[in-house]
């Protein structure tokens, strides 16, 4: 009897760090099913091999995440890998479709530019006033069409708001990549400088208002640093030369140098208007990050590691239960908080949700199973599952295609 109880406990009982084997098994099965569905089953021919590699890689990261309890570490690996591997596939697709990665008159007039999530910030108000999208993209029939991105964005916003920046964004991974190189920051940027993150909102206001009178997506035409890894206009006249120069400067400064020096996600924190928009949408997202003031000892470890400067001692002093608007739900603070004061939460679900024991008491087995069920539907389990699945589905096809390009090149060389 004792052995059986120990076995059941070892499989089902929740753990302090990491998830129980039962939860790992169930959620991995669920995630693995869909990873193989999207990456292998829907692929044909040699794509199945790269799809299988992709699915195994993602599944491995997820299991490591659950076993170690270090959500942030493996999330970062996923985000960086997805962002870097997205570029060859994306450029290859552009070359296949139109012969070049450059934007030309053809793509603009035929409305064939890929629609990126950042464009949403500039298109909403003109859409209401002018009844038209001020960006020359396909409306449908393509993965980067407007309706396709709209569905993806709406789903992500309802599920995790600004969590997009840490779990999905294929641009944010670049920031993460350069900020992860080396350990010590050469330029100290801490919570004392956290007013920097308000510039995000200034950018949002600026691009939204500037785009309206000229009926053109200002951020995309002039300011976006990530055009350098996706598509841009050939620098042939003064306007495009200035835009090209600005693109190079912003990429090098905001995406490479500043994250490398500060070890913070500088571009995401200070420049990206989409991040600011998602911060505002955090209010309606289903999953949140909860801060338990009673458990907090104000050690400041969370403030030190926060990559977006969202946490500050002032915040730790106040009485709010959810993290600041600019929190990207990356989980870095949860990693370092020894008191467990910061956790993922679900809107409407009280913390430490427990089903009360019945009056006549329950056996140890029943108690373990009850706790297992609670742990299974807890935000700590559900959020990483939902967010990781979302991110892998969005980036899976890019990773798969890049791997296929690599495999084909290797085969050609042999």
């Amino acid at each position: 009897m004792i052995k059986k109880n120990s076995l059941i406990e070892s499989i089902f009982a929740p753990r302090e760090k990491g998830a129980s084997p039962a939860i790992i098994f169930i959620t991995s099965l669920f995630l693995g099913y869909y990873l193989f569905f999207f990456n292998v089953l829907l692929s044909t021919g040699t794509e199945k091999i790269s799809g299988a590699i992709t699915a195994v890689f993602f599944l491995g990261l997820y299991i490591a995440m659950l076993v170690t309890g270090e959500y942030s570490r493996y999330r970062k690996i996923f985000l960086i890998a997805a962002s870097l591997l997205m570029v060859p596939a994306f450029i290859n697709t552009l070359i296949e479709e139109r012969g070049t990665m450059l934007v030309n008159a053809d793509t603009v007039i035929n409305n064939e530019n890929p629609f990126c999530h950042i464009v949403f910030t500039m298109t909403a108000i003109p859409l209401v006033l002018q009844k038209g999208i001020i960006f020359p993209a396909r409306l449908s029939g393509h993965y980067a069409s407007i309706y396709s991105m709209l569905v993806i964005w709406l789903s992500a916003s309802l599920i995790f708001g600004r969590g997009w920046c840490s779990w999905v964004c294929f641009y944010g991974g670049w920031d993460s990549c350069f900020s992860s190189i080396g350990k010590k920051p050469a330029l100290k940027l801490s919570y004392k400088n956290n007013h920097v993150r308000y510039f995000n909102f200034v950018m949002l206001a600026f691009v939204t208002l500037a785009s309206l009178p000229i009926l053109s997506a200002v951020y995309c035409e002039l300011l976006c640093p990530f055009k350098i890894v996706t598509e841009f206009e050939a620098p042939v006249d003064i306007f495009t030369i200035v835009a090209f120069g600005f693109m190079v400067v912003t990429f090098l400064t905001l995406v490479v140098v500043m994250p490398f020096l500060t070890k913070k996600r500088f571009q995401c924190t200070a420049f990206c208007p989409f991040g600011a928009m998602q911060s505002l949408i955090n209010k309606i997202s289903f999953f949140r990050v909860r801060f338990d003031k009673e458990k907090c000892t104000k050690c400041g470890a969370c403030a030190a590691v926060c990559p977006t400067l969202s946490v500050s001692p002032e915040f730790l002093e106040n009485t709010k239960k959810t993290m600041p608007l600019t929190c990207t739900m990356c989980g870095e603070c949860m990693n370092v908080c020894r008191q467990g004061a910061i956790t993922y939460s679900i809107w409407g679900l009280p913390p430490l949700f427990k089903i009360k024991e019945t009056a006549d008491g329950s056996s140890a087995v029943l108690k373990t199973l009850r706790e297992f069920l609670i742990a299974l539907v807890s935000p700590k389990t559900l959020f990483p599952c939902a967010a990781f699945l979302f991110g892998t589905i969005v980036s899976g096809s890019f990773v798969r295609e890049t791997l296929e390009l690599i495999i084909n090149q290797i085969i050609k060389l042999w």
């Binding site: 007039i109 309706y147 789903s155 009280p350």
Partner: protein, 486 residues
């Protein structure tokens, strides 16, 4: 338990959210369709060059002037280079970079030869009348002296697009200072766009006016010849076209109103202009009314088809019974019967359609994909096995009708579906076994498939074909939705 109701409900909702994540991608197309239906988004005109007001289509292969013109022997002149396929007139737009402009687009049979630079070989003339007989000229510009214009519609401004210059002059009939137009060449789509700045009173009249009349014709371009016009003589040579023994106008192709034959244009009194109204396309076409009409038409068609099918199929597990069960949605029974006929192309085609349809009924996405893939394997085999016209048509229609129903983003079957619909329709027409309405509807379905597959040029050409046979309310609505206005 009562105290735990809210947390339990929220937890269940949370689990549903997690499960909904992959489903939102699998059924993304359906969600997109719902968004499309609700939002009806469109791209701002400043990018596309303005909403299409009118599209004028010209038959391909009629680039023979008034008779039997031939191209020069030079390899620069590719077949179709002087053949007008389509001319679009757009609403005027505002653009912050260039200012207000009006765009017209010309699609030719072929402009993609890189050997054409720097001389080019097409010379497109566009003459526009904005005020009827009030003012204008009936004399063509230099090089177009042989063109005759309708005295009731003398042109007010004109441009000649020649060579590959990206700027052309806009000339005014009253001799005032020329304005300018930006020319954009889109070789991959065989398309030339001309954007006329509306900074002059005459061109600005386009913003205020509601009607205009357009003359569009092509000549060969030769930079070294008089007026830049390629001469067309009795016999072709390297630097001249042939087939013009009478010395008529050196015009290879005219874009004319549908009722006017080109053959009469070699010695016309004047070239018939195209009338275009600048009232917004949306105002002229009531999409909601068309949609209602289309829905009513499809409902009646479905009822008529059921009446035509008549009495229930005979018992005894016949092929007809299997097909009847399929049409009634009794898939398991249909599958049982049709399996016995899987050695024939017709039986296998319907069996494939039944199996694929089961994908729409199952709750497991894994199973759904398997069913659809299996169904298509059978239908592909049925198409290959077809030995006569009936089998050919049946197999292709089964495959096409399934392709149009399943999510394109997942299965990518619509490109094949478009060809299947078109081939089946053409075959049925060849046999005289289809009415004009059904022929047109089949081509419309082909066009919808092509549209879903992202091949918009093919889709448009199918809509044109369907329109030539006469749109039904269904076809009219589907075409109008896509700005295809015939």
């Amino acid at each position: 338990m009562r105290k735990n109701i809210v947390p339990i409900c929220v937890s269940v909702l949370a689990v549903l959210f997690v499960i909904a994540v992959p489903f939102s991608f699998v059924f993304g197309e359906a969600l997109q369709g719902a968004c499309r239906h609700l939002l009806k988004l469109r791209i701002h005109e400043s990018y596309s060059g303005g909403r299409v007001v009118s599209s004028f289509y010209d038959p391909s292969g009629d680039d023979k002037g008034g008779g039997e013109f031939t191209y020069p022997l030079s390899e620069i002149f590719l077949p179709g280079a002087l053949d007008i396929i389509k001319y679009t007139v757009h609403e005027p737009v505002s653009d912050y970079r260039s200012g207000d402009y009006w765009q017209c687009g010309i699609v030719l049979g072929n402009i993609s030869s890189d050997k054409m630079f720097p001389f080019g070989c097409v010379r497109v003339s566009v003459y526009v009348d904005v005020d009827g007989a009030k003012s204008g000229s009936t004399q063509g510009l230099a090089g177009d002296e042989d063109a005759r214009f309708d005295p009731a519609h003398p042109w007010d401004f004109a441009m000649i697009i020649d060579g590959f210059s990206t700027t052309q002059k806009i000339y005014f009939s009253d001799g005032s200072e020329p304005s300018s137009a930006t020319i954009i060449f889109l070789p991959k789509k065989n398309r030339i766009l001309a954007r006329v700045l509306l900074d002059n009173k005459r061109t600005g009249a386009l913003l205020a006016g509601t009607d205009s009349w357009h003359y569009v014709f092509t000549k060969g371009y030769d930079r070294l010849s008089a007026g830049g016009v390629l001469p067309v003589k009795e016999t072709e040579s390297l630097r001249s076209g042939g087939g013009n023994p009478d010395g008529g106008p050196a015009i290879y192709d005219y874009l004319l109103p549908r009722t006017t034959a080109q053959s009469g244009q070699s010695t016309p009194d004047y070239i018939a202009p195209l009338h275009c109204s600048f009232k917004s396309a949306a105002a002229r076409i009531d999409l909601d009314a068309l949609e209602t009409e289309s829905a009513a038409y499809l409902k009646k068609k479905s009822v008529d088809e059921k009446d035509t099918q008549g009495a229930p199929a005979p018992e005894g597990g016949s092929l007809q019974q299997g097909i009847a069960f399929f049409r009634e949605g009794r898939l398991d029974e249909a599958e049982k019967i049709l399996t016995a006929f899987s050695q024939t192309s017709e039986g296998l085609a319907y069996l494939g359609a039944v199996v694929a349809s089961k994908g729409g009924k199952t709750e497991s996405t894994f199973e759904a994909v398997e069913f659809v893939n299996e169904g298509f394997e059978k239908m592909d085999k049925a198409c290959a096995m077809a030995q006569n016209d009936i089998e050919y048509i049946t197999a292709r229609l089964c495959r096409a009708n399934t392709a149009i129903e399943i999510p394109e983003e997942v299965f990518h079957k619509c490109a094949q579906g478009a060809h299947d619909f078109e081939e089946a329709a053409l075959k049925l027409r060849e046999l005289g076994a289809v009415s004009d309405a059904d022929f047109s509807d089949m081509l419309v379905k082909a066009a919808i498939c092509a549209d879903k597959a992202g091949d918009f040029a093919y889709s448009e050409s199918l809509f044109i074909k369907a329109g030539s046979a006469g749109f039904t309310p269904y076809g009219k609505f589907e075409a109008a939705k896509r700005d295809i206005i015939l």
